[in-house]
């Protein structure tokens, strides 16, 4: 893939961390910036509510990435319903598409945002697919 800058990593993230509610941004790390710094792309999940068709569309995308050498993780927020990840709906959709559930990292809101940011950055930096999978696809 000459001249291609893709990072081969991405994270499923709740809408809340992309668009923090007014007043809440100080209690959460800047997840978007941390993902960018760690060469991750974003798969934004919808806000809470009924979004079954959109979740199915997102599951299709995760399946395509996961089956072709991309490392996919999920970054949720502790204390949100389903950690903001729609996990009760999303997990069966992923299993149905033969996708192993992505590793999950939960951000704790209301504690030191800088510490949470460092914890997230470490999680992101440490995760990748096994070398054999990387070599198979990332050429």
């Amino acid at each position: 893939m000459n001249g291609d800058a893709r990072g081969w990593h991405m994270a499923l993230v709740p809408d809340t961390v992309i668009n923090p509610p007014a007043g809440a941004s100080a209690s959460l790390p800047d997840v978007l910036r941390i993902l960018e710094a760690n060469r991750y792309g974003v798969l934004q999940l919808p806000p809470m509510g009924e979004h079954s068709l959109l979740l199915a569309v997102i599951a299709d995308q995760v399946a395509e990435y996961s089956h072709h050498g991309y490392a996919v993780v999920a970054v949720g927020v502790h204390g949100l319903p389903g950690n903001g990840l729609h996990w009760r709906r999303l997990a069966p959709l992923l299993r149905h598409r033969s996708v192993a559930l992505p590793p999950r990292h939960l951000i704790r809101s209301g504690v030191d945002a800088a510490v949470e940011g460092e914890r997230l950055a470490t999680f992101l930096a440490d995760y990748d697919l096994p070398l054999a999978e990387q070599r198979r696809w990332r050429v």
């Binding site: 800058a5 990072g7 974003v42 068709l53 569309v57």
Partner: protein, 186 residues
């Protein structure tokens, strides 16, 4: 009943938050297209990522293609399904009085807003000479279908522009000026 103040919301092409969606050799950033995100966030926009139509249809290892190759009933039906998936969220924003804009990807056969790529002769064995497609002033297929779905729901047109990533030679500084002018003129 107290009403929430209107918000500014940017609907953005999937690959502007995730360059892994790009066709092979098309990714200019590792993940997030930071100049777009910075320009929007610094002006108070919320971000709403749109689905990537090409990825889920032709896959992450798809060949490069032009507008005419994607202009098929099956691809348009796929785009309509995606539009139906995201339209309820967009409708919710609009019904709440939020101010929406759309940032696509100029030059893309799917997500182009002001421009798309065209070459009616493309097809068959993928051995075309480099950069022999043309840029024409037209929406991409996905944007056409998304706008049609919103119109079917009686929703107003959303002001739109494109980040000029797929126009042949990518000029980041020019694309940034262009986007900032669009945002500041609003």
């Amino acid at each position: 009943m107290e009403q929430n103040p209107p918000r500014k919301v940017a609907l953005i092409a999937s690959c502007l938050l995730n360059q892994n969606a790009k066709v092979c050799q098309g990714a200019h950033y590792p993940g997030v297209v930071s100049p777009v995100v910075e320009a929007l966030r610094s002006r108070g926009y919320l971000l709403q990522q749109l689905p990537c139509p090409e990825l889920a249809f032709a896959g992450v290892r798809r060949w490069w293609a032009v507008y005419e190759q994607y202009d098929t009933p099956a691809y348009r039906a796929h785009c309509r399904r995606l539009a139906q998936a995201i339209a309820p969220l967009i409708e919710q924003y609009l019904r709440q009085g939020d101010e929406l804009i759309l940032i696509g990807l100029d030059g893309s056969p799917s997500t182009g807003v002001r421009f798309t790529s065209s070459k009616p002769e493309w097809g068959g064995r993928p051995n075309r000479p480099e950069d022999d497609w043309e840029i024409v002033p037209r929406r991409g297929i996905w944007i056409e279908e998304l706008e049609a779905e919103l119109a079917r729901r009686g929703l107003p047109p959303i002001p739109a522009t494109g980040w000029a990533l797929d126009m042949g030679r990518f000029d980041e500084a020019g694309a940034r000026r262009d986007l900032e002018q669009f945002l500041d003129d609003r």
